[in-house]
């Protein structure tokens, strides 16, 4: 469902390497968790997958194109002065959800996320955790097959983070492919079917999780980071 081949990209006339020969495939049902420090190029990789950035070399493809992609980042991409529902209806319209279905789908996804009672509130009035949930609703309204999550746990308190983890675990089913980036191994390790470490644009390790716990993966990550710095 998702293919990346030889991706290379650098900023500032080549001084900052964000992607260095990154290649991978993802099938339906797989969740790739990418761990890396800040500046490793994780966001750039997701932006290339989402079609926001054209890579300087290599190619990336998502089956179904833009309509099949749902994005969840640390910015909600919602309009503050519109209500949650109005936002959902707007985005549903952009993604080509037929008019007759939009209302029903919005109601449905709001219910799934436990936001029914907040539906008419303007987004600016919501707490960070609720905004994140609204952003997830927006990402799901068009029923995307691929979800790209860019450091989605940023700014969430423990409770909200646990909720998000539970939600993502539920989303993994139903044939979706997820790509999740984070700099904190504990956040994403248990959700993943495949794990990659991205350091300075490169996939330093890329392997199936194979039953490893987050402690084990964290240790491997620490070693990988030390190895690159040493």
């Amino acid at each position: 469902m998702l293919w990346a081949e030889g991706l290379r990209h650098a900023f500032n006339e080549g001084r900052v390497v964000a992607l260095d020969d990154v290649s991978f495939n993802l099938a339906a049902g797989q969740t790739l968790a990418i761990f890396g420090p800040n500046g490793a190029g994780k966001t750039t990789l997701l932006k290339v997958l989402a079609g926001l950035i054209r890579p300087q070399a290599g190619s990336a493809r998502v089956a179904g194109g833009r309509r099949a992609i749902g994005w969840i980042g640390h910015q909600s991409q919602l309009y503050g002065h519109l209500s949650v529902r109005e936002n959902l209806l707007f985005w549903a319209s952009l993604y080509g959800v037929p008019r007759a279905e939009r209302g029903a789908r919005a109601t449905d996804v709001l219910a799934r996320l436990g936001m029914t009672d907040r539906a008419e509130q303007p987004v600016w009035s919501l707490s960070r955790g609720l905004v994140q949930r609204a952003a997830i609703a927006k990402a799901l309204i068009h029923e995307p097959r691929v979800l790209l999550l860019d450091e989605p746990f940023t700014g969430l308190d423990l409770g909200a983070a646990a909720e998000l983890r539970a939600l993502l675990a539920a989303l993994r089913g139903a044939g979706r492919a997820l790509v999740l980036t984070t700099h904190n191994v504990d956040e994403g390790a248990e959700l993943a079917t495949d794990v990659a470490f991205q350091l300075r644009g490169r996939f330093v390790q890329y392997a199936p999780r194979a039953g490893r716990g987050s402690a084990e993966i964290a240790e491997a990550y620490r070693r990988a980071v030390a190895g690159t710095n040493g």
């Binding site: 519109l82 952009l94 080509g96």
Partner: protein
């Protein structure tokens, strides 16, 4: 084509809804217009120059500034929470984004002009009733010219530092043309010249609009995409 129109309307409607909700920009623009007209009144010597001579210039300079206020907010709205990224990740056709923003900007400036024109008539005692229709035609065509190029440029400057300052610097040379044509047409209208004299200026305005709408809508995707 139907899809493009639908998306254009979705964008325009969203912008207008947002504007209606917060109302800050439109109120500021209307007040600004009233203030500028007031400043022009105190800034001239009524015994030296008649209102009728200066009127066209005053009117159009005021409208130009008002248009720029409106243009600045168009893409600023998308920066909040990085909605612009969401728009670009979605299957939204970039041309629909341009046309949608253009429509919303036109509506914004139209409201400001709808308040500005009566105020102008009031403050400067310039009767326009007898030439109202042709005058509205001039206003519509000139405003379209302002907004066609302005929407394109505002997309670019929103990502630069000092966006509010950059936009006038880049845009004014382009606005000089429709501004000049509009002033010439308005002057002739207010002086009760026959319509045939005004027609040429209207045609120039229309030509400017067609050319720059085409160029700006062609170029717009390059300002948001790689």
């Amino acid at each position: 084509m139907g899809e493009l129109l639908r998306q254009t309307w979705t964008i325009a409607r969203k912008d207008l809804l947002l504007e209606f909700r917060s109302r800050t920009a439109i109120v500021s623009a209307v007040v600004f217009t009233a203030l500028v007209l007031t400043v022009f009144n105190f800034g001239r010597d009524p015994t030296a120059v008649s209102a009728l001579d200066l009127a066209p210039s005053i009117l159009w300079v005021t409208f130009t500034f008002a248009a720029m206020l409106g243009l600045n907010r168009a893409f600023q709205l998308e920066l909040e929470n990085q909605a612009i990224e969401g728009l670009l990740i979605s299957p939204l056709d970039r041309r629909s984004l341009y046309w949608g923003k253009l429509l919303a900007n036109l509506a914004f400036v139209a409201v400001v002009e709808a308040v500005g024109l009566p105020l102008f008539v009031l403050f400067f005692n310039v009767p326009v009733g007898h030439v109202l229709l042709p005058l509205l035609a001039v206003m519509a065509l000139a405003t379209l010219g302002f907004v066609a190029v302005g929407t394109l440029f505002s997309a670019m400057v929103v990502r630069t530092r000092f966006a509010e300052l950059m936009l006038p610097v880049l845009l004014l040379p382009f606005l000089l043309l429709p501004l000049t044509y509009a002033v010439q047409a308005t002057a002739r209208l207010l002086a009760d010249r026959p319509l045939s004299e005004v027609a040429g200026w209207l045609r120039l305005l229309a030509a400017y609009d067609i050319v720059f709408l085409a160029v700006a809508s062609w170029l717009f995707p390059y300002t948001v995409d790689e």
